[in-house]
């Protein structure tokens, strides 16, 4: 039984190591050739969380290569009822916001699920992911400001993967 546990542990470690070091970006995005250019979709990424309330934000990115803006859709989960006015992305040397539009609001178990979409310049999103310091997403709501932070380890993985995908997009333009 011990050898079986060792084998399974070895396989698990092998898969984990390949995940960390291999940085196989193919599993993080998909692309589709459309009439107006290539449409890229970077799969939903999580990790942004409010330290006090533990409310979470998950985002995904869609980009049509012939345009200069990306569509950033995000889901925000919170126990409180909120009216979100705007979202601001803050990094060391950068602070930008895009106009946001509500897609829907639902309940998910005990939390509210707020789904919004925003348009952001490709150059802004590119420089956002090019920074190594942990960024913050600030949601301005009628009930107050919500700061969402991300852990360093998570950001390092997320930014390096997204940066590589954005570089790939630039090369194909």
């Amino acid at each position: 039984m011990v050898w079986l546990a060792r084998h399974l542990f070895f396989i698990a470690m092998l898969l984990l190591t390949s995940k960390i070091n291999g940085q196989n970006i193919e599993k993080y995005y998909t692309s589709s050739l459309q009439e107006k250019g290539t449409l890229y979709f970077i799969f939903p990424q999580s990790g942004f969380e409010n330290n006090k309330t533990k409310s979470k934000l998950i985002y995904d990115i869609t980009y049509l290569a012939t345009t200069d803006t990306v569509t950033l859709n995000f889901s925000y989960f919170d126990k409180l009822e909120r009216t979100i006015d705007s979202a601001v992305f803050v990094n060391t040397n950068q602070r930008f916001s895009g106009s946001i539009k509500k897609l829907f609001i639902e309940t998910n178990k005990s939390k509210w699920h707020y789904r919004y979409t925003s348009k952001i310049l490709f150059t802004d999103i590119n420089s956002f992911f090019n920074q190594t310091n942990n960024p913050t997403i600030i949601l301005y709501t009628q009930q107050g400001i919500v700061e969402l932070n991300i852990k360093t380890k998570n950001w390092k993985r997320q930014s390096s993967v997204t940066k590589k995908i954005l570089t790939l997009i630039k090369y194909n333009q």
Binding site: W3, L4, H7, T30, S32, E35, N73, L103, T117
Partner: protein
């Protein structure tokens, strides 16, 4: 030598047993690992500018949860005109399986 063969046979039988645990809908499947992307549907609508995704997961075939419907994927990106739908099936050793749906449209 016999012990090694016995160990390999036992390992394969355990993997085969486990692979029947967390299964996922896919046109092709592997016992050790599956990661297959395939088509679901296409419509007569002409263009895509938005992509939405939805997913469901299974752990050991004991717990399965999620909403991998086309409706959930379309709704997540605000898509009202669907162009085409793809699916992605993933499973690892029968321990974990994930089924994702991607909806393209505008």
């Amino acid at each position: 030598m016999f012990k090694t063969i016995k160990k390999i046979a036992m390992l394969l039988s355990v993997i085969a047993f486990m692979s029947s645990c967390a299964t996922v809908k896919s046109p092709l499947g592997g016992i050790l690992y599956t990661n297959v992307k395939s088509p679901v549907a296409i419509t007569g609508n002409s263009n895509s500018t938005k992509v939405g995704s939805s997913e469901a997961i299974s752990v050991l075939g004991i717990v399965a949860a999620g909403d991998a419907s086309i409706d959930a994927a379309a709704k997540s990106a605000g898509i009202s005109k669907i162009h085409h739908v793809d699916q992605q099936s993933k499973s690892i050793l029968g321990f974990f399986a994930k089924y994702k749906v991607f909806v393209y449209g505008e």
